[in-house]
Symmetry: C2
Subunit: 246 residues, 2 copies
């Protein structure tokens, strides 16, 4: 059973209100990093895996992409995307990424923003991405950093009696697999994978690694969300840019 927390009404309401605030980790840390990794969007055909409410799909079209397909497991998200970020060059599909079937279609660029950690079978994902890319096409994705997903327990900032952050607790690094978090609702499941698994699976499936980004906040984020200074202490995300060779 694929996880679909985004159709949980409590989760969805909180998530949308967070995203609409414009004051999030996505706005100041993850999106600037993933956008900086893109060589060009001009005239590109793009597949966005885990497109959410379609902001990134719209951004691609605004920056010259010729076509975007956005895929998301959540009906709520896809409805919101069509409403807010509809465009004749964008097609939104409601489907788990794992079950996506796009017969005979191939893309210049496949993007996935903070969705890969929800997917249980990473190798299968990479094989699918490869089958959907033109030769020399780019695959760029962000995911929770293995430093952040490693420990079986939650609440990994260790604090002193005044609530000051002492350090980040890391453990269980080599034990890949399921981790349960609370994020608005209980039981949000992410899959921990090591850096070596994230990278080697790409290489073993015909990709070359072009860049790794462990992003920090952009300057305006540090003003509007002071806690983002903690991204210097440990990265929340990792962005991986790769290219399909053969």
């Amino acid at each position: 059973m694929k996880q679909n927390i985004y159709d949980n009404p409590v989760f969805f309401r909180e998530y949308i209100s967070l995203r609409e605030s414009g004051v999030t980790y996505n706005d100041f840390v993850e999106q600037p990093a993933i956008k900086s990794a893109i060589s060009t969007l001009k005239n590109k055909t793009i597949l966005d895996l885990g497109c959410g409410t379609g902001q990134f799909a719209k951004y691609c079209i605004e920056n010259g992409a010729s076509k975007v397909i956005g895929v998301d497991i959540s009906r709520n998200m896809i409805e919101q995307a069509k409403k807010e970020n509809g465009d004749k060059k964008i097609e939104y599909i409601c489907s788990p990424i794992e079950d996506l079937e796009l017969h005979n279609q191939k893309f210049d660029l496949i993007i996935s923003s903070l969705a890969v950690h929800y997917i249980e079978d990473y190798t299968k994902l990479i094989v699918k991405v490869r089958s959907l890319l033109h030769e020399n096409g780019e695959f760029i994705f962000s995911t929770e950093h293995p430093i952040v997903t490693a420990r079986n327990e939650e609440n990994n900032w260790m604090k002193d009696s005044n609530g000051e952050k002492l350090h980040w607790a890391l453990d269980n690094y080599q034990e890949e697999g399921k981790r349960e978090h609370n994020w608005y609702v209980d039981g949000v499941i992410v899959y921990h994978r090591t850096i070596s698994t994230l990278i080697n699976t790409l290489i073993d499936n015909g990709f070359i690694l072009e860049k790794i980004i462990e992003p920090q906040s952009i300057p305006s984020g540090l003003e509007k969300m002071p806690k983002l200074v903690n991204e210097r202490r440990r990265p929340s995300f990792i962005v991986i840019k790769s290219r399909m060779l053969r």
Copy 2:
């Protein structure tokens, strides 16, 4: 001033007695990993940066390498290497890696085992390695894992009142640079670099990444050194295998 702790007599004595025990992280974790990353040694010319007492140089010759140059900053190490692991196909040179001059010589494989974290200027190292590699030559190195070098403070296993390890403390990840450790003697300096710096500097200088290994102990290590079970909790080392493309 390049660091040369290995010519500190206290350090050297302790280090040699540790290595001679055959019961070390090198024996059970790092060396098996770095050896597993080598495609072949047969008829290869090899440069070993930070060769220590020459065990690995000798291993290369025993496995068919045609020639090895071993380089180490420590006169103690080089003397020991010549005594214990001398061979007519091995040349030992006493020099800081940073100052090494090998006019017009190029190698099929450059190896560096747990020396890169002592080198302050990583980019300069990579540029040098590139200049010493044949086209398509391999560069394989191990270094302390960024998870391990990140925190400014030492003693990063947090323990409960019974001495049980609770978790590994991580901090200061994005602050690259000098870290001071105690390892037999005070003031052993290593340089912390992020995963992205380790990888991207290679790619930016014409290497392709072939594999990352975050090694655990081989089974016999877990018997002889039970504490190696902790390598599952956080990796001590990272091994990076790359190839020079152009």
